[in-house]
């Protein structure tokens, strides 16, 4: 059942126990997350999937210390999320590329390095390496608004990887792109993951994307946001786009879909 080698499961990167988050609003409390239990081991690729309002983005933001939980415990690399953020433990890729238009692509990728105080030579070297990693070499001097949406998102991935964090948090990074570009970037992301051996937590609302990318799929459901199912993906780590036609792939996708359907309340 467990497809992961034992040594990877040995070190856990994210430990979440009994976590809850309630927003106080004018209309009373909103239970964004409730009773979340989850462990993510080193080298895993875990996807959060669920309908909008299920708290998948909120959960990712809690891991990144962009939101504070109101109950339960969470540790990232054995530290609190706050300490982990100050230690620059993770790179975060947002829904939008959020590149600065007054900086060239190379300067955008160098932004976290500047903030973290790397030397000029170090910056140049890391920018070069990461631009190569996302296939953007040759576009160093271009400005973001001169690039397509897919290229901008690749640049933002290179920016998140530039300071070489072990953990990559991605919040629907390809949600705004068209199907073809999305397939291409999914394939590239898998290669990149295989090459760098990072732990990836990936938020999506696309079933094929989740099944294609992940080693484990976490299905969330709304009101209150909670985990409905955790599915181990038996597909081999080394996979191409055509694996999506296989029976095994469809079986996993079916289980995810069943989970989404069962967890969804039809009262609205």
């Amino acid at each position: 059942m467990q497809p992961q080698p034992a040594d990877n499961a040995a070190r856990s990167v994210i430990d979440i126990a009994k976590l809850s988050l309630t927003f106080e609003t004018g209309d009373g409390p909103v239970h964004a997350l409730s009773d979340i239990d989850l462990n993510i081991g080193a080298g895993e690729f875990v996807s959060f999937i669920g309908p909008s309002g299920c708290g998948k983005t909120t959960l990712l933001r809690v891991i990144a210390d962009l939101e504070a939980p109101t109950g339960g415990t969470i540790s990232v690399n054995g530290m609190s999320p706050h300490e982990a953020r100050l230690a620059r433990a993770y790179g975060y890729v947002f829904q939008a590329a959020a590149l600065y238009p007054w900086r060239t692509i190379a300067e955008n990728i160098a932004l976290p390095l500047e903030i973290m105080g790397h030397s000029r030579e170090e910056q140049a070297e890391r920018v070069r390496r990461n631009m190569e990693l996302v296939d953007l070499d040759g576009f160093e001097r271009k400005y973001p608004w001169q690039l397509s949406g897919g290229m901008q998102q690749r640049a933002s991935i290179a920016r998140a990887l530039s300071f070489d964090p072990d953990l990559l948090l991605m919040d629907e990074p390809f949600g705004a792109l068209d199907e073809i570009v999305r397939d291409h970037l999914n394939e590239q992301l898998l290669k990149l993951w295989a090459k760098t051996d990072k732990t990836v937590v990936f938020v999506t609302h696309s079933i094929p994307e989740a099944v294609f990318l992940s080693t484990r799929i976490v299905v969330l459901c709304p009101r209150p946001g909670r985990i409905y199912d955790i599915i181990d993906n038996p597909l081999p780590r080394d996979r191409g786009l055509d694996i999506r036609e296989t029976a095994e792939f469809l079986k996993v996708a079916h289980r995810v879909r069943e989970g989404l359907r069962a967890g969804h309340s039809y009262d609205d």
């Binding site: 953020r85 790179g91 947002f94 939008a96 959020a98 500047e114 903030i115 400005y143 608004w145």
Partner: protein, 375 residues
């Protein structure tokens, strides 16, 4: 050919033909028709020669534009020469030809704006030629009207008189310019914009200042400059510092408000991004929020470049040493030296436009990335 150009060219052609039967100038001793004024006669004949094929469509495009421009300028020169030889004596025929020349100028600009040159240099020249033609024809019509109708120069001097005044008193105008622009305006502008900017950073950093200082800043901006200027004279003396103080008061608030707005321009994702890098306040300010605020800051710099000049000139109405553009305007009006007043206004307008243009130029360099600049 658009309906407007069709009507205008027909009208110009008819008026040019009919005008030959009218008197052009009436002096107390004689009446002169078109045929007594050979230069004007040549101009009118050429206009008919250009207008007729233009109206029928034989002449169009760049050639029509060149012909219309050339003949309309020739007409303008002939009319200007005639009117200065017989000032305040213009008759019906004269105004008929003014109408013809103006119509041809209109048509030439119409043709010019229809041109689409291939080279970027050509496009830039066309873009420059259109406002230039407007400006030149404004001056020509002004000159013709003032001299032709014999308008008293106390009411409105002719452009030629203002030009002569500019040429004959450069010393006085330069002294005024130095006193008002180089001292009061520039120093007041730098201090006002600079302090507005710094206070905006402070207001942004300290929340209670935002609630306390912004309303007071609003109050200061609402102070009538006419009321403040005499008080500044009492505080800072007659010389330029009191005028610079008025400029500071006028320019402070636009800069404050725009910078505060600009600092809030970054959206949530961009703030989150800096947060994930654990960037400190200064890094976030310098690497994200200030570049983001630049379009707003330049907005204030542009508004202030004109406000500063107005403030300094008006402030000089309330006590000043015997130099300065505001002083010159207020005293020369009293002496009926209206050409000097207009010369000062011309200098102020030119200085103000150049200042504004310079700020705009710097803006284009700094905010090259903004959608409104990168095109």
């Amino acid at each position: 050919m658009s309906p407007v150009t069709r009507i205008l060219s027909t009208l110009a052609l008819v008026v040019a033909l009919m005008g030959s039967m009218l008197t052009v100038v009436e002096t107390p001793i004689m009446t002169l028709g078109l045929f007594a004024l050979p230069v004007l006669l040549v101009g009118v004949l050429l206009s008919i020669l250009v207008l007729a094929p233009y109206r029928t469509g034989l002449l169009s495009g760049a050639r029509a534009c060149a012909a219309l421009t050339g003949v309309s300028l020739l007409m303008a020169a002939a009319l200007l020469g005639t009117v200065s030889a017989y000032p305040a004596a213009a008759s019906h025929g004269f105004w008929a030809y003014v109408l013809v020349a103006w119509a041809m100028a209109w048509l030439s600009v119409e043709e010019l704006s229809g041109l689409t040159p291939q080279s970027p240099l050509g496009q830039r020249l066309v873009a420059l030629a259109i406002p230039l033609a407007f400006g030149v024809w404004l001056l020509i019509l002004w000159q013709l009207a003032v001299v032709g109708f014999g308008v008293p120069r106390v009411l409105l001097p002719a452009p030629s008189e203002i030009w002569l005044r500019l040429l004959s008193s450069p010393q006085i105008l330069w002294e005024d310019f130095r006193q008002t622009f180089l001292k009061a305006v520039l120093i007041g502008y730098a201090l006002g914009c600079g302090s507005g900017f710094l206070v905006a950073i402070l207001v942004d950093r300290v929340p209670f200042l935002r609630r306390g200082l912004l309303p007071i800043g609003n109050l200061v901006s609402a102070l009538p400059i006419i009321g403040v200027a005499p008080i500044m004279v009492m505080w800072f003396g007659f010389d330029w510092p009191s005028k610079a103080a008025v400029v500071v008061i006028m320019t402070f608030f636009p800069m404050l408000v725009n910078t505060v707005t600009g600092l809030a321009a970054a959206d949530r994702i961009q703030h989150d991004l800096m947060h994930t890098y654990a960037a400190n306040y200064l890094q976030t300010l310098l690497k994200m929020r200030l570049p983001m605020a630049m379009p707003f800051i330049f907005n204030a710099l542009k508004i202030n470049s004109t406000l500063a000049l107005i403030g300094a000139i008006v402030a000089e109405f309330f006590g000043t040493p015997i130099v300065g553009m505001g002083f010159r305007i207020s005293t020369e009006v009293g002496r009926m030296n209206v050409d000097m007043v207009w010369a000062s206004i011309a200098v102020a307008a030119l200085a103000g436009s150049l200042f504004y243009g310079l700020v705009t130029l710097i803006e284009r360099v700094v905010t090259f990335w903004h959608p409104s600049v990168r095109g």
